[in-house]
């Protein structure tokens, strides 16, 4: 009797990810509600920063005001929690003054697209090398659940008790139209895909915008009759989106009304800080 053939099993050695290297553990617990997706996005962000091989001393995380904008307090980088809507302006100052830093902006949909809408479009237009992560939950969570610039028509919020009548913004379309050179969408549901997308955004030279759909069960969920946080994630993030690569292969009715995930737009265009140094500073020399 011959010995049974041994199929060589390649064992995957998974090294546990040391989150504490990038967190400020003594600043936890975070302020986010049970069921909120912000923690999942934070995890994806930290793993992407790690995988990008960035030096913590050279990473700066900047935010505005809102639930998602509390992220910088929990992470061990150069961190700046600014004013409502102005994260991109502060970040532009830091990046432009010190281009060797990797500046990541964490912002919410209200922060980035309403009060900070002007800064959003002009940041994209300049193509300054910032990675902009928009936590899109269609809600002003910090103030208790008002409708935001991404709230779908008809939705309930504390300021739209009769249903919202304002059409929502598509952050990706806006970023693309304004000139961002990397535009992508992810969700808190698709965690591995999100990590990959954020990594690609970090590695992109220029303004990269990742719109991250990330439900707010506490306000949006309860007011709009979602049964639970997981139900909300399934309906909005899983069933409400489709990866852009799959979308091409699906019949139109399967894509209709769904938000596209993945990298939606990627082009090369001169980056602002490099242009300033190579064109303006060079020309000014000796004059």
């Amino acid at each position: 009797m011959s010995a049974p053939a041994v199929t060589e099993k390649k064992e995957k050695i998974s090294v546990p990810f040391d989150y504490n290297k990038y967190l400020r553990p003594n600043k936890l617990p975070h302020i986010w509600c049970p069921g909120c997706g912000h923690g999942i996005v934070l995890k994806a962000m930290l793993r992407a920063i790690h995988n990008a091989g960035l030096d913590q001393d050279k990473v700066c995380v900047v935010s505005g005001i809102g639930c998602s904008s509390r992220t910088p307090g929990y992470v061990d980088f150069n961190t700046l929690h600014t004013l409502h809507g102005r994260a991109l302006s502060f970040a532009t100052g830091i990046k432009f003054a010190k281009p060797d830093m990797k500046v990541i902006v964490v912002t919410g949909d209200g922060d980035a697209l309403a009060i900070g809408g002007n800064h959003f479009i002009h940041t994209c237009r300049r193509n300054i090398d910032l990675t902009v992560l928009v936590f899109t939950n269609a809600t002003y969570g910090m103030t208790g659940g008002q409708y935001s610039p991404t709230t779908p028509i008809g939705s309930q919020a504390t300021t739209s008790r009769y249903g919202s009548i304002e059409p929502p913004f598509d952050a990706c379309e806006m970023a693309k139209a304004a000139g961002a050179t990397f535009v992508a969408r992810g969700t808190a549901y698709h965690t591995l895909e999100l990590e990959k997308t954020i990594l690609e955004a970090i590695n992109h030279k220029g303004t990269s915008v990742v719109d991250i759909i990330d439900a707010c069960p506490t306000y949006f969920g309860r007011m709009n009759k979602y049964k639970s946080a997981t139900h909300m994630m399934e309906v909005i993030e899983k069933d409400g989106t489709v990866n852009v690569k799959q979308a091409d292969k699906l019949p139109p009715e399967k894509v209709q009304g769904k938000a596209l995930r993945g990298v939606l737009h990627k082009v090369e265009r001169p980056e602002y800080c490099e242009q300033y140094e190579s064109l303006i500073m060079e020309k000014a020399k000796g004059k």
């Binding site: 600043k27 913590q56 001393d57 050279k58 700066c60 900047v62 910088p72 307090g73 061990d76 980088f77 150069n78 961190t79 700046l80 929690h81 600014t82 004013l83 102005r86 991109l88 302006s89 502060f90 970040a91 532009t92 100052g93 830091i94 990046k95 432009f96 003054a97 010190k98 060797d100 830093m101 002007n118 800064h119 479009i121 002009h122 300033y276 303006i280 500073m281 020309k283 000014a284 020399k285 004059k287």
Partner: protein
């Protein structure tokens, strides 16, 4: 700048010279009359000295990016006028609480609202102190001559770096657009102060270290990883709800200025030793006042001028002492009564009379002479 240079410059151009002299390496702003020449000048000069200029999408972004540039470790400037100064207020308050040094020039034009963009005014004096919400420290310098715009811009940077707080350079459109021959000081001639930087180990660094009245500020990206927020915070920079810490910190940022007023104050006194009637004025109004006082002296009337070059913190001590010696203090100002309230507050004995004008025309010496003669 190898040696002293004589130049015929406009006030706003002198501001640019002052900023460059002070070592400013970053400017973020937005065009607005009558301060635009500062942005134009900085856009030309900064890249020549290895600095950065950026025209932002609005006034708010200009102020925010200026703070960002400073946090990255560079002396940073922004300039504005009227409506722009209003828009910058929220971020200015951020710089007060987060203790980020930066200089904001406000070339005062007629208000309120869009007002009289090309006309002079001095109606932002109170705004320079109280423009942003919450109790906060304020330093504001008030040059009256083109040469002085240069030197006061340097002093503004020095005070900002020394006290880790925003400083407002406040002058009216007349001084901003006036051309006068000035001397560019040679390097080393004027004192230039740089902010204190930490020399401790990164793990021992606190951006608001409570062992100091003014803690050293590390630039972002220098190996000191720390947190900055506009929320009330502890010495480590992280938000707090601890009422004791909130009170102590709010009081400390005021004390930075209060305890150092003697260092921050700067006054020019003309014929004050034996004066019976004093004039208290800033900017172009002080130039009219000087002319008026000299004319009165020629007529044998004992008039004098107290001209503060620091309006905030208010020179309360100088006014108080003066008020004990003179019959009256006349306060001409291109607004409907701002500095005069402070003079009244500090005055012990002397009668206080305001002269106010908000028609876009300067207060002329004749108006001041007329007032002086009332107390003759």
């Amino acid at each position: 700048m190898s040696e002293k240079k004589k130049k015929l410059l406009q006030g706003n151009e002198a501001c640019v010279e002052g900023a460059i002299y002070a070592g400013c390496k970053f400017y973020a702003g937005y065009p607005i009359t009558p301060s635009t020449e500062i942005a134009e000048g900085m856009s030309v000069r900064l890249p020549k000295v290895g600095g950065k200029f950026i025209q932002m999408e609005d006034e708010i972004a200009g102020m925010a990016a200026t703070i960002g540039g400073s946090l990255a470790g560079f002396k940073s400037l922004t300039a504005t006028s009227g409506p722009g100064f209003s828009l910058k207020q929220e971020a200015l308050g951020y710089a007060c609480l987060a203790e980020i040094p930066c200089v904001i020039v406000n070339v005062m034009r007629g208000g309120p609202s869009t007002g009289y963009p090309t006309g002079p005014s001095q109606s932002d004096i109170m705004q320079a102190k109280w423009g942003t919400h919450g109790d906060h420290p304020a330093i504001s310098v008030t040059p009256a001559y083109v040469q002085e715009i240069l030197t006061e811009t340097v002093r503004a940077f020095n005070l900002s770096e020394k006290y880790r707080t925003p400083v407002v350079v406040l002058y009216d459109e007349i001084v901003g657009h006036m051309r006068e021959p000035i001397t560019i000081p040679a390097p080393g001639e004027l004192e230039v102060i740089d902010r204190a930087k930490p020399d401790c180990k990164p793990e021992e660094y606190f951006p608001y270290d409570d062992r100091y009245l003014i803690a050293p500020l590390a630039p972002f990206g220098s190996g000191y990883r720390f947190h900055v927020t506009g929320l009330n915070h502890k010495q480590d920079g992280f938000p707090t709800n601890d009422s004791k810490v909130i009170r102590e910190n709010n009081e400390r940022i005021m004390r930075k200025i209060e305890d150092n007023k003697e260092d921050i104050w700067k006054n020019e006194e003309i014929f004050l030793d034996d004066a019976e009637i004093a004039v208290f004025a800033i900017g172009s109004t002080a130039r009219s006042a000087r002319f008026a006082v000299e004319k009165m002296r020629a007529e044998g009337i004992k008039a004098g001028l107290l001209r503060p070059l620091t309006i905030w913190p208010f020179p309360d001590k100088a006014v108080r002492e003066l008020s004990k010696r003179v019959k009256a203090i006349i306060v001409p100002e291109m607004n409907l009564g701002q500095m005069v309230l402070e003079v009244e507050r500090c005055s012990k004995g002397a009668e206080v009379l305001g002269i106010h004008r908000v028609d876009g025309e300067p207060i002329n010496p004749g108006q001041i002479i007329e007032a002086i003669k009332k107390f003759k």
